[in-house]
Amino acid sequence: MAEITVTRRTPGMVLLRGDLSSDALREAASAVAGAPMPERRQASLSGDTGILWMSPDEALILLPEGRAAEAARALSQRLEGVHHLALDLSDARAVFEIEGPWLREVLAKLSPADLHPEALPLLEVRRTRLAQVPAAFWIEAEGRARLICFRSVADYVEGLLRRSVEDGPVGLFA
């Protein structure tokens, strides 16, 4: 089943906690990420950068590799006086890109989330678990998904994904 590929990526990632509805925060985040603040559960992407909605008071800003530390500092400067927390978390997470026609099934074999296209539309971020560890993923376009997990279990997660690919499609969403 060579139709699915799993590739490790190393984007910059900034954790931003704060009142996601406040103008100051939205503007600061957008300026750093080059994309508008997403709606609930959504990913807002613009090329290599973007913002993921993680919870009512948490967003994850995606940046090119090596840009996160500087971006976190820039955010905190812009948000001087506004209660928030901005931290470079690039090294705390591992990111995988999964490409191929039945990637929804690759994920459905590992996550209890409903991967049906109606239940998980494009660009909706699903925080869930993958087998025995926490993970989040979103499908950017049919045939391409990204997945985030903790760094310490990256080998485990990569093994899960590869095994799921090896065992072939289920025929659920085909």
Partner: protein, 998 residues
């Protein structure tokens, strides 16, 4: 003798011969056969032996309810015990072996004849073998275990692959017969997301065989045509997923269901089986019904089968189970079998109908075919041992006086049908007794309920008591429509059931001699007389009687025996069947492969193992690991000729004498920030944290609200509004959760954010007299005593790494913790090793860390604390603020028991002979307990051999310990004996702190 018929067999492909072996002998069958049908076609009627008496057993059914025909499949890592031959598809090269026999299926030395079986009555396990007592363990139990038992467990790990898949559905339909197909079409047309699953290899259920026998049509079409149309229609619906070879095995709370797909049964597949985890809004159960055996003497002789099975083998597989088949029936169903057999060219010497005056199209057709029908008759007993040789017939209403003996080589029995209510019942659906139809059926008013309190299971077709194809169609369609709309079973009209006389023993007034030969549970050898005995001995509850007799406890979970057993129990107790009730239906519907439950969680995926940024180096340098949470931390790094303990001793000395490196990346690192962070920190920690100066560190304790110690660690103040909390390795996640819980539930209006940064950083402890020199060599930061005093931290560029350096110590030596980005951790580690080579730099593991801290008297969460220990117990009262108005645990600590001066408190302990005291040993106290045991007054919490002092050192929690320094106590030893030890100050090493501050 059973054989293949010259023609016929809807399911088999006579152009696809297949070879297989049974007990090593080469056999042949056809594509479409099951293992059971192929064996019958070869004349192999006996397929196994029963559990208790080792009696020869042939298949009694043709489906999932089979209790007898259990075999072992495959070999080595592919071996599977207890497979049902009746639902095992025949595949080329299949290797099957019979079970529970020795030396052979035909001759088994464990077989128990009828006379001896009197000594093995119900409950014999509980009654016999009680004396002499020691014999149970050493003689009786091993002997019973050898002789009783079915398949052998596989001797090798399962070589097959399995996987799981999660999905959701609006409507899950269990069973692909007429009702299931009709439900799927209705739900599918409604636009619902539908999953339709059928355990067998084909769609259509019983209709394929039964409808043509009476010329029944479905929706005006021949059954086969309608089924084909339905399947074609469903396949065009993108919202419908269909699976054959897939049993819905369990229905759980709130619409969760498990199903097992036997992928390899359909042909070569990457995984042998796939476990589906389905979250369904509505579940339609359309699994049909299970035919009931009749209880007559000798009903377990091979060749006595369910009537439905006899005609399935004949019509479906072209297999005659015998040349002359006597049919005995309580309802109409036996007629179907008689008709099918005569049409297949076989002889039916008699059809015994327990009823009188039965009428209807089936009866008329049987009469038209010239079948001899005997009304009001039953079987007194079956003749034959290894197979049937004849039956003696009698009046059903009587004691069983033989009227006539009829030679035959098979018997087809039908005691009526029980709806398969298993899935309905598993999650709490209740049953109601239908007296006229003599069946338990789903009570639509009391369904299993979902999260919203409404019933989420809708029964359909035979599972709901439907007797005719027409009714199954109607009931399936109605259930499918309702399910798609999110309707409830209360809105679903139960289908019409066929009237059925209640025939629980045959003949009605059979004496004990006959009842002792009437089997209820074929696999576990439970007879009518056993259940009656249980009732006489006081087992009035059906659940107790079940366990006492083992009725229904075999691998078929009583699918055939349940109703007969509880009817017999009711009769013996003088109670009606609904008063007796049923036993509990539990998942799975039929056994599923353990491998599919494990799924892909095998090998490296068995359990997640967390890896630090330096783990590759540890792997490559011989680290001997110990599990710490989901991490694997190096215990020590043994060198050539060293064991792990010797290595830890060497590593400890290296830290005391030179410099050591510890991978501390696993320590929790939680950032707390915000305008209210200071007061939040003061609530979380027992000591004051709000007044910690920026640039400084402080050791702190966290208690739960009961006042018990949860965690400890060093807090660094990063800036005016930001603190960094170090936690223990195991505490990172739950301390973060603890903080968030208090923030979100109690202090939701405080302006504080937290984040768990544990994995963002690699952290290395650099400890020992040469530590400062080593960091100086790395260069870039001033780590001098003046610039960086004990309990301070600084940020800078160390050797080109963006680093935070904490001057903290858990060893008693000059010590720094260097924190860099996780992705740079391996490089930092390497740089420290290279720069420190001539300084004697030595990586050390958790055991050396433990020895170092114990020499210094530092406590360890999880060693000295166990969830019942207060800070004061560990002499850490100095870290519990007396000034603060409140903190989590403050009130708890004031409770009388926690403030009791008699509580065990921390002391050091040194054995008088210098040996290492056993960790966990009890400290023996004066006197005895009320139960006459030695009193204890404490326990050893940590114990090591100290290379620094050259003798054993230990820490212990002892009653009023610190007040008793110098006193000698006795501690226990595993295996007996005691050891004397003296109470000492736990701080053995550098009590003044010269080295730490050096």
């Amino acid at each position: 003798m059973s054989r293949r018929l010259e023609t016929g067999g809807l399911f088999i492909d006579r152009n696809a011969p297949m070879g297989f072996t049974f007990d090593g002998k080469d056999r042949g069958g056809f594509g479409g056969d099951t293992l059971a049908s192929a064996l019958l076609a070869c004349g192999q009627l006996v397929m196994g032996r029963s559990f208790k008496y080792h009696r020869q057993r042939g298949p009694v059914s043709c489906g999932a309810e089979e209790p007898n025909a259990l075999v072992g499949l495959g070999e080595g890592g592919l071996f599977e015990p207890n497979a049902r031959a009746t639902i095992t598809p025949l595949t080329e090269g299949l290797r099957a072996i019979s079970q529970n026999r020795w030396p052979s299926l035909a001759f088994d030395i464990g077989a128990v004849n009828a006379k001896l079986s009197k000594f093995l009555p119900a409950g014999f396990y509980y009654k016999t073998f009680l004396w002499p007592r020691a014999f149970w363990k050493h003689v009786y139990e091993p002997a019973i275990r050898r002789s009783a038992g079915l398949g052998k467990p596989p001797s090798q790990p399962d070589a097959d692959r399995y996987e799981q898949v999660n999905t959701a559905a609006d409507v899950l339909i269990a069973g692909g017969g007429v009702a299931g197909l009709a439900a799927a079409m209705e739900a599918g047309r409604n636009g619902a997301r539908v999953i339709l699953m059928e355990q067998g290899p084909r769609w259509g259920g019983r209709a394929l065989i039964d409808a043509p026998l009476t010329g029944e049509t479905i929706d005006g079409q021949p059954a086969a045509d309608w089924i084909e149309m339905a399947v074609d229609t469903l396949e065009t619906m993108p919202n419908v997923t269909m699976r054959l070879h897939t049993q819905v095995s369990g229905v759980f709370d709130h619409g969760f269901a498990l199903a097992e797909e036997r992928c390899a049964d359909a042909g070569p597949a990457p995984v042998r089986a796939r476990l589906w985890r389905i979250r369904a809004r509505r579940i339609v159960t359309a699994q049909g019904a299970i035919e009931r055996p009749l209880a007559f003497a000798g009903n377990d002789v091979p060749g006595v089968m369910l009537a439905g099975a006899v005609r399935d083998y004949a019509v479906g597989y072209g297999v005659a189970v015998g040349e002359r088949v006597v049919v005995v029936t309580a309802g109409d169903d036996g007629y179907r079998t008689a008709i099918a057999l005569v049409e297949a060219g076989l002889a039916v010497p008699a059809l015994l109908d327990v009823r009188r005056g039965a009428t209807g199209p089936l009866v008329e057709r049987a009469q038209a075919l010239g079948i001899r029908i005997e009304e009001g008759r039953g079987i007194a007993h079956v003749s034959g041992g290894q197979s049937v040789t004849g039956v003696s017939i009698c009046a059903q209403d009587g004691p069983g006086e033989v009227i006539e003996e009829i030679a035959c080589d098979a018997v087809a029995m039908s005691g009526g049908w029980s709806p398969a209510v298993h899935l309905w019942s598993q999650a709490g659906g209740k049953l109601t007794w239908d007296e006229g139809a003599a069946m338990f059926r789903p009570d639509h008013a009391r369904p299993p309920t979902g999260a919203d309190g409404s019933g989420f299971v809708l029964p359909a077709g035979g599972s709901d008591g439907a007797a005719s194809t027409e009714d199954a169609l109607r009931s399936g369609a109605e259930a499918g429509r309702l399910a798609a709309e999110g309707g409830v079973p209360a809105d679903l009209a139960p289908p019409q059931a066929a009237p059925m006389p209640q025939v629980w023993v045959m003949p009605r007034d059979a004496g004990l001699a006959l009842r002792e030969k009437m089997w209820l549970d074929f696999q576990n050898d439970v007879k009518v007389s056993d259940v009656e005995l249980a009732a006489r001995e006081g087992y009035r509850s059906v659940e107790h009687a079940k366990r006492y007799t083992t009725l229904g406890m075999a691998t078929d979970q009583g699918k055939l025996s349940n109703i007969g057993g509880l009817a017999t129990l009711g009769h013996a107790l003088g109670e009606a069947i609904p008063q007796v009730g049923t036993t509990t239906f539990r998942p799975p519907w039929t056994p599923i492969i353990l491998g599919s439950i494990a799924g892909s969680a095998t090998g490296a995926q068995f359990q997640p193992v967390r890896r630090t940024p330096m783990q590759d180096w540890h792997d490559a340098n011989g680290a001997d690991y110990e599990p710490v949470g989901q991490w694997r931390r190096p215990y020590s790094y043994p060198r050539e000729g060293e064991d792990r303990e010797a290595a830890a001793q060497r590593e400890t000395r290296a830290v005391r004498e030179a410099v050591g490196l510890l991978d501390a990346s696993t320590l929790g690192k939680i950032v707390v920030k915000g305008p209210d962070a200071g007061r939040f920190m003061d609530m979380i920690y027992t000591n004051m944290m709000s007044n910690l100066a920026v640039g400084r560190c402080r050791y702190g304790l966290i208690c739960n609200d009961s006042g018990f110690l949860m965690d400890d660690g060093v807090v660094a103040r990063l800036s005016e509004d930001t603190w960094l909390c170090h936690t223990t390795t195991g505490g990172a996640e739950h301390i973060h959760a603890h903080m968030e819980e208090w923030l979100q539930t109690e202090w939701w209006d405080w302006q504080v954010y937290t984040a768990n940064l544990t994995e963002q950083f690699a952290q290395v402890v650099v400890a020992g007299p040469q530590a400062r020199k080593l960091l100086d060599r790395l260069g870039g930061m001033d780590v001098s005593r003046e610039a960086m005093p004990f309990m301070s931290w600084a940020e800078g560029s160390l050797h080109g790494f963006d680093a935070r350096v904490f001057r903290i110590s858990f060893s008693g030596e000059v010590s720094y913790e260097v924190s860099v980005r996780a992705s740079e951790g391996a490089e930092l580690w390497q740089a420290l090793l290279e720069e420190g080579e001539d300084l004697g730099v030595t990586p050390y593991g958790t055991e050396a860390m433990h020895i170092l801290r114990a020499e210094k008297g530092y406590v360890m969460i999880g060693e000295e604390s166990d969830g019942t220990i207060t800070p004061q117990d560990l002499n850490l009262g100095w870290a519990v603020s007396k000034k603060k108005a409140d903190f989590i645990g403050k009130r708890g600590l004031t409770r009388s028991h926690l403030a009791d001066p008699e509580r065990p408190r921390l002391v050091g302990l040194r054995s008088l002979d210098g040996t290492v005291i056993e960790a966990g040993a009890q400290v023996v106290g004066p006197g005895v307990t009320p139960t006459g045991q030695n009193a204890t007054e404490g326990r050893v919490t940590s114990s090591y051999h100290s290379p620094t002092f050259g003798h054993g050192i230990a820490m212990a929690l002892i009653r009023r310990g610190p007040e008793r320094l110098g006193e000698t106590v006795e501690v226990t030893r595993i295996g007996g004996g005691r050891q004397k030890a003296v109470l000492v100050d736990p701080v053995l090493y550098d009590a003044k702190g010269d080295r730490l501050n050096g």
